[in-house]
Amino acid sequence: MTTTSAASVAARGRSALPRPSRIRTDRSIVRRRVATSLTYAVLIAIAVVYIYPFLINVATSFKTDPDAAADPLSLVPATWSSAAYARLFLRSEFPVWFTNSVIVTICVTAGRVFLNSLAGYALARVDFRGRRVVFAGLVAVMAVPGVVLLIPKFLVINQLGIYDSYAGMIIPLLADAAGVFIMKNFFESIPRSVEEAAKIDGAGTFRTFWSIVLPMARPAVITLVILSFQGSWNELSHFIVSAQSPELMTLTKGVAQLASGALSQGNQYPLKLAAAAIMTIPVAVLFFVFQKRITNASTGAVKE
């Protein structure tokens, strides 16, 4: 809008007004062009700062150890070496970690979608006694910071006997008040007429939910899938407290221990960066596929 009005002023100026204002308009065009180029320059510079580290990450994973230490900035290795990846896949537990992360993430995502949409629908549309109390309870629960739960979750998991098992790693992660809210907000935006039509046709609550309303909720479900995937793939503290045996280790915990020197005593950067790079690939793929949806969601995932 600013462009058009300014442009129309400029156009008028050129024909109708005397010379001095034309110089003024020419100058303002130049000023605007300079401002735009400046904006582009600043943005590109900042974008480089944001992207370059990841390029370094990938490049360094293909360098040899001394090369990585000697030449940290370059994006092209002096000698291409896949030793880091070989060590990672053949002589460490990395494949186990990857498998565990995949299993846990898929189960948690599926579980969350199912349970959150059920609960969200109930809160949004089903009239039952105590609905408001439950809602208030959910809000209160969301306020508890994660750090308070670190120790006690371990204690509870222990007492329930699911410590050091897939159940212990997956079930607690299914608790997701924020996801319930996302689904609830979405369901509230679906016109009641749809449901009323279904009820007149004789559908029960679950049937209405499952066959009619849920398919309409696809955008919200996709958002939930993205958030759950990201959340459980990148989760660390829960996996620290819920399992300890090496067969159950996930990517986050494994790479964290790699970083603090578990596989060997020494600074083997290409190895650690290779692990970090592979760890990032699934979320990156998900991100690029669903970019538009992620960047448009105003209630995005919060990184702590």
Binding site: F54, V147, L150, P172, F206, L236, Y269, L273, A275, M279
Partner: protein, 378 residues
Amino acid sequence: MSTTTTARRRPRGSGLRGREAAAGWLFITPVLVILGLFLVLPVIMAAWVSVSDWTGRGSPFSGDVGFVGARNYRTLVAEGGLATQDFGTSIRNNAWYVVLVVPIQTAISLFLAVMVNRKVLRGRGFFRTAFYFPSVTSSVAITVLWLFLFSASGAVNKILSYLGAEGPNWFNDPRGVLHVTLSAIGIDQPAGALGAHGFLGITWWEWLAGPSFAMSALILMAIFTTSGTFMLLFIAALQNISGEVEEAALMDGTTGWQRFRYVTLPMLRPTLFTVLTLGLIGTWQVFDQIYTGTQGGPSKTTLTPAYLSYSASFNNGHWGQGAAIAFVLFALIVALTILQRFALRERNTVPRRKRFNQPPPAAGDTPPALPTSTGSQP
């Protein structure tokens, strides 16, 4: 909802309404059970452990575990021994982290949002993606990358050497940044009171040490990873500001900066509040990066309360103390959130000194709110 009432009263729990209620409870029960088991019950259990002397063997609810009252809390906050010093150190480190990360990340994300939101810009999608990508990655992966970038012979120090400066050994340098600057201008020793008295076992002089170089690297990492998320929130809010308001302001002859300061910024207040709250809550719980990267070192300058709570319990077996730290942190976060809500609340009346005309304060009517002073910060 309730349609026109019929003459006869339907008993609750039967018929259509009753079935719907049952279905509703059924739908919500799994979520409630899981939340109850893994969110509510843990908090109760932690509360019990923090006032008991459980040593880590067997169940905390067993018969031999005794109630010790506020002993764990007292050791933590009042006694002045090693536990208090560690707790004070962790609070100090985290306080510097919060004070630096929250304002900077808010400012940068707002800046990026404004830049990316300009209408003339092409490639907006590319920039948004580039700035948001770090937020998508795992904190573990980013920490590993950061350890490499900021190592003694890493990329950052290489760049600094091109600029002529000698970069510090980032992740291993325990000196506080503020202390280093002060000693550069000659102030090495604390002045009297600063060195003699303290809080939570640490002298005031040490409170003012500033973040260490290692902590500073972590601060930069936090800003790098969270600015993208908040940028998106700001973009959404900016796009919600209707263009007519902007045009009206333009017609009034305001410059870009004035427009931003007096029109855009006040309308961003709710988002600003959200961003600040999320930032506060998130920064006080730093754990993943510490666990992966520095484990509290060098010299306990990256020790944070969340990590201290974990390490006191799992590594040192002081379960009661660990739980106590967690609750103190909880209280701190809640207090800060309430404080922030209070400080940033909408005021319905214009502060007295900003009123242009001062009608006598009678008859209970408030003076008209003038556009230039509504909601602007003093």
